[in-house]
Amino acid sequence: MTIQHHPDIASLMSCAAGSQPEAIAAVVSAHLAMCPECRREICCMEKIGVALFASLAPAPLSCRAPVVAARAREADRDVAQCLVAQGDVPAPLAPVLGACLDGIPWKRLFPGVWQHRVRLSACASGDLRLFKIAPGTKLPEHRHNGEEMTLILRGSYHDKLGTFRTGDIADLDDAVEHGPIADEVEGCICLVAVEGKVRYKGLIARLLQPILGV
């Protein structure tokens, strides 16, 4: 797998800082699992946070160190970290999606396009969805709003920006208008994160508009 399209440097930095909205952080983490180049980059970016942390003035504590018991010193390795993806779902997503994309309970959105919403934390303001686009389907021209990120998980699509294949990220800003066409043979499955729900509804409406004629 040769990855051609990566997240914007600023997006990777925000991920390294742990400051990215949850939905977008999920997409970037999944890309990192597939992209050694970005993993190296993010290692370097994480040093910024550590350097800043190390130079913070310590805040005096009012309590002493808690009493710790040896019995409690058991590594509670997160379940997520133990999961090694068996199928085509990147490891960070496996706890929420399962190991294989074939097991996703798709809901049809409109002809040739299915979606599956990924549940986020109750406080998260963004939106994270999987889309499955039938081979050769062309989405209407649309524009993105603010922070939005797409990761290709299977197949590919092409638009005027190029061809986006498995592992590629489309980190588009609102200046870009595009009408992606899913691969004629494989179609395309992608994970799309946006920062706010309201904006996303706008996108769905625009996507539906030419089809429903509203």
Binding site: D8, I9, A10, S11, M13, S14, C15, A17, G18, S19, Q20, P21, E22, A26, V28, S29, L32, R39, C43, C44, M45, E46, K47, I48, G49, V50, A51, L52, F53, A54, S55, L56, A57, P58, A59, P60, L61, S62, C63, A65, P66, V68, A70, A72, R73, E74, D76, R77, A80, Q81, P92, L120, S121, A122, C123, A124, G146, E147, D173, E195
Partner: protein
């Protein structure tokens, strides 16, 4: 705030407690549940974690609770730490950052990299890794101290105050694109500055 280091000053005076010692303390906790080693780690890191949490806008009591919880996580997970993967400070900061996302933002802390991540293909022990990690951090601190104010401001807001790009744009009254380009400019300098240490 950031300690501004003058250009050309290659290395700072040795820290009161050398970083290597911190990694040793962590390994003692991992190997034998050394309570005394844990107490020393707590004294060194808990006040910094508290300071970090307060920068997120939490009250001092909550910040202190989160600092306690961070260090208790260090105690529990010490077995997962390996000195080859970076300094004790890097590892403990990662735990604090993830706890901050979980507790203060109430979101899932999608890990940029798993805690047991290691990009190096080699299985050889790397005794100098801890030292070079420290060296890189000093270099990053020096570069951060030299950034123009408009760039260091967005970096601080992102890394220490935990704001997303959109939140930074709103806070500073700037277009989103300007925030991103300042972040990119800052990183370019840091990346260039670390080129010979990579």
């Amino acid at each position: 705030m950031l300690q501004v280091l003058e250009r050309g000053r290659i290395r700072r005076a040795p820290p009161v407690t050398p970083s290597r010692t911190m990694a040793d303390l962590l390994q003692r906790v991992a190997a034998s549940g050394d309570v005394e080693a844990f107490r020393k780690l707590f004294q060194t890191y808990a006040p910094r974690v508290k300071s970090y949490m307060m920068r997120q806008g939490t009250d001092p009591n909550t910040a202190e609770e989160l600092a306690q919880e961070t260090l208790l996580t260090v105690w529990r997970k010490a077995g997962l730490y390996s000195g080859e993967k970076g300094s004790a400070t890097t590892w403990i900061f990662t735990i604090a950052r993830n706890l901050r996302i979980d507790r203060l933002r109430r979101e899932v802390a999608w890990q940029p990299l798993p805690e047991d991540h290691n990009e190096k293909a080699s299985d050889d022990p790397a005794p100098d890794e801890e030292l070079s990690d420290r060296e890189r951090r000093d270099r990053v601190q020096a570069i951060l101290g030299e950034l123009p104010q408009d760039q260091s401001e967005v970096v601080m807001l992102s890394y220490i105050e935990g704001l997303s790009h959109s939140e930074i744009a709103e806070r500073l009254g700037l277009p989103l694109g300007t925030v991103k380009s300042r972040m990119r400019l800052a990183y370019q300098k840091i990346r260039d500055g670390l080129e010979d240490l990579r």
